[in-house]
């Protein structure tokens, strides 16, 4: 390997057979390139989906009512179910051990919102203090609605960051400013941020205020919970399913709904959804691996083919070299040395090129579900070695055969 004479001989051969070398190199480099890009996008997809789920608390469970579809205990189907404060409170007590955070929510409808003379077209929602943690709101300024606000039905509002940039661009801070909701002034106490702009276009007020001031009675539009975190993913899913079932049973009993009525109550758990996505990304990753490995196999076959042709083409040369006193192992060594050198150089070229592209373009790629495609360096480098090894094996047998045949046979080859 460190024989300088051998290296010179190989460089000579490579220099004088540029096309052959180029074609061998191209098949290796493109194989590695495609594999790395594919693996990168597999990773990007996973990153994207993980980010998608970071937006709300991963363990959140949401429940909202619908319309009954089954007759039950003398009640007709087609009944509209309405959740109320009592549902929220009893469920919170009943399932207390399984709940981390909880909040009811009410959509305040039929109102107008004004800031000075400007009419605002943002949705107003009544929530309780813990809603902040369920929605994963980040506070940029001020604070969120708290328990005291709820107790005192305070006329306070928390606005999204987008509202701040759109509306409160003339004041230094919107904190302390007043907005009027249907003519009633509400003091802004905080600005929150979210992952999506859409979710920053909301005005949160205490739920008690929403119910009392805007004729909500004790109605609630939906209730959300988060469950305490568990280390193990499968355990977390099981916990979510358990919780979902107990909650559903409880609400079905209190609203006299048939246990098998699927349309009367909707209970959604992020965990179950996440599991579906995670197994999907798992499968997609597997698929990318499969395609990648097929690409590598194609690369290996390509390299083998080229090695076969190279050896065939050089049979006469091998004969001449043997007639001049080349030993069989020196012939095999020469061919393999060249093959390893070419596959290694082009393999690493493909690797550097593709990783460079991922490094440079990766962070800029932020379409839905694909974020920062990147590849594990160890994986990439091992594939290069696999290809080099395959090239060596593929080159060895024809080289060995060519070195073994009678010199005179090799010389006769045209």
């Amino acid at each position: 390997m460190f024989d300088i004479e051998r290296w010179q001989e190989i460089f000579d051969t490579i220099r004088k057979n540029k096309l052959r070398t180029f074609l061998t190199g191209l098949s290796v480099a493109s194989g590695i390139f495609i594999l790395v890009i594919l693996l990168g996008f597999g990773q990007g997809l996973q990153n994207g989906i993980e980010q998608e789920f970071e937006q709300d608390a991963a363990t959140s469970v949401w429940v909202w009512p619908g319309v009954t579809s089954k007759e039950y205990k003398g009640l007709n189907p087609g009944r509209r179910i309405q959740l109320n404060n009592e549902n929220f409170e009893t469920s919170a007590v009943l399932l207390n051990d399984a709940i981390e955070y909880k909040s009811p929510r009410i959509f305040v409808r039929g109102i107008t919102v004004n800031y000075g003379k400007e009419a605002l077209i943002y949705g107003v929602q009544g929530v309780s203090a813990q809603f902040q943690f369920i929605e994963n709101c980040k506070m940029y300024e001020g604070r969120f609605v708290n328990h005291l606000d709820e107790m005192s039905t305070a006329k306070v509002a928390v606005i999204g960051k987008k509202i701040k940039t759109d509306v409160f661009n003339k004041v230094e801070s919107p904190i302390g400013e007043f907005i009027e909701i249907s003519g009633i002034p509400f003091k802004i106490i905080g600005v929150y941020g979210e992952y999506e702009d859409r979710e920053e276009e909301r005005i949160y007020i205490p739920i008690t205020t929403a119910q009392r001031v805007f004729n909500g009675g004790n109605r609630v539009n939906n209730i959300s919970y988060t469950l305490p975190p568990v280390d193990n993913f499968d355990q977390a899913v099981a916990q979510a399913v358990d919780f979902k079932n107990s909650l559903k049973t409880h609400l079905q009993q209190s609203h006299t709904i048939a246990p098998d009525d699927t349309s009367a109550l909707n209970v959604w758990s992020a965990m179950e959804e996440a599991k579906r996505y995670y197994s999907l990304t798992g499968n997609i990753k597997l698929f990318f691996w499969f395609v990648g490995i097929c690409t590598i196999i194609a690369g290996v076959v390509g390299v083998s083919n080229i090695m076969l042709i190279v050896v065939k083409e050089r049979t006469k040369e091998i004969g001449i070299r043997k007639a001049l006193g080349a030993k069989p192992w020196s012939i095999i060594g020469m061919i393999l040395h060249e093959a390893i050198f070419v596959t290694a150089i082009s393999g690493f070229t493909g690797l550097i090129f593709s990783m460079g592209i991922l490094e440079i373009l990766g962070p800029h790629i932020e379409v839905d579900y694909i974020v920062n495609p990147s590849v594990n360096f160890k994986v990439a480098i091992s594939t290069v070695f696999v290809l080099i090894f395959a090239g060596t094996v593929a080159g060895f047998f024809p080289a060995w055969r060519a070195a073994r045949i009678q010199t005179i046979e090799a010389l006769r080859d045209e």
């Binding site: 004479e5 004088k16 004969g319 043997k322 007639a323 001049l324 006193g325 030993k327 070195a403 010389l411």
Partner: protein, 233 residues
């Protein structure tokens, strides 16, 4: 120098076996210039290939410089070829992507001679065959005669004990043939042992001894008065 006794060789052609050499006995002393003659199929090339260890005999004895050549593996054979033998072929057998100089230097590479010394030596031998100016040319830029002279320089570069030439003039016109023969005679004059396979009488007459082969046996072996090629050049 060369001693062979009762040499047999046959080729398998499907189910038939073609008996090419049917018991050859002959010796070559140092400094001889021998022509091996015969019509095609007489076994003359096969004999030369066996002498050159490019092919193996089925039976018989072969001593080269008092070393018995028998049951040799390829590695050993390669060593002997490199040390003892130089080859000149009808079709030149130059490596076409290497320059004349690199072709001549190649046997020295396999003798593990250093690069610099290799180049110097190769240039010396190219000079001897009168092609010093053509050192950096590729074989396809040379004429047939020039190619053969490069091949001879290559054969000589390893300083072999025996030079084996298989129809060295077979692909050349007569003027060029005589030039090549002149070169071979000069190399012989320096004391080198040379064996030439040919079917041309005028080429054979330029050697010192003619061995005539027919149907795998030697039918005639005589010393002749050498015709110098110099006068035709």
């Amino acid at each position: 120098m060369i001693e062979i006794k009762d040499l047999h060789k046959s080729y398998k052609m499907g189910s038939n076996s073609l008996h090419v050499l049917k018991g050859i006995n002959f010796t070559v002393d140092e400094g001889e210039l021998v022509a091996i003659m015969g019509s095609s199929g007489s076994g003359k090339s096969t004999l030369l290939n066996i002498l050159g260890m490019l092919d193996v005999a089925d039976s018989g004895e072969y001593n080269l410089d008092n070393v018995p050549i028998k049951n040799m593996n390829e590695t050993k054979a390669a060593q002997y070829r490199n040390k003892f033998l130089g080859f000149v072929f009808q079709s030149f057998n130059l490596i076409n992507y290497k320059t004349a100089l690199e072709n001549v230097a190649l046997p020295l590479y396999y003798q593990r001679v250093g690069r610099k010394e290799r180049q110097e030596k190769a240039l010396k031998y190219l000079d001897q065959v009168g092609l010093k100016e053509w050192a950096e040319h590729l074989p396809n830029e040379l004429s047939g005669g020039q190619k053969q002279r490069v091949a001879i320089a290559r054969a000589m570069a390893a300083e072999p004990k025996v030079l084996l030439a298989d129809e060295p003039t077979g692909a050349l016109d007569s003027t060029t043939s005589y030039e090549v023969m002149d070169l071979i005679q000069k190399i012989n004059d320096q004391g080198n042992t040379i064996l030439i396979v040919t079917h041309e009488q005028d080429i054979a007459n330029m050697c010192k001894r003619i061995v005539h082969l027919k149907d795998g046996v030697i039918i005639e072996d005589k010393k002749i008065k050498q015709v110098r090629a110099q006068q035709y050049v």
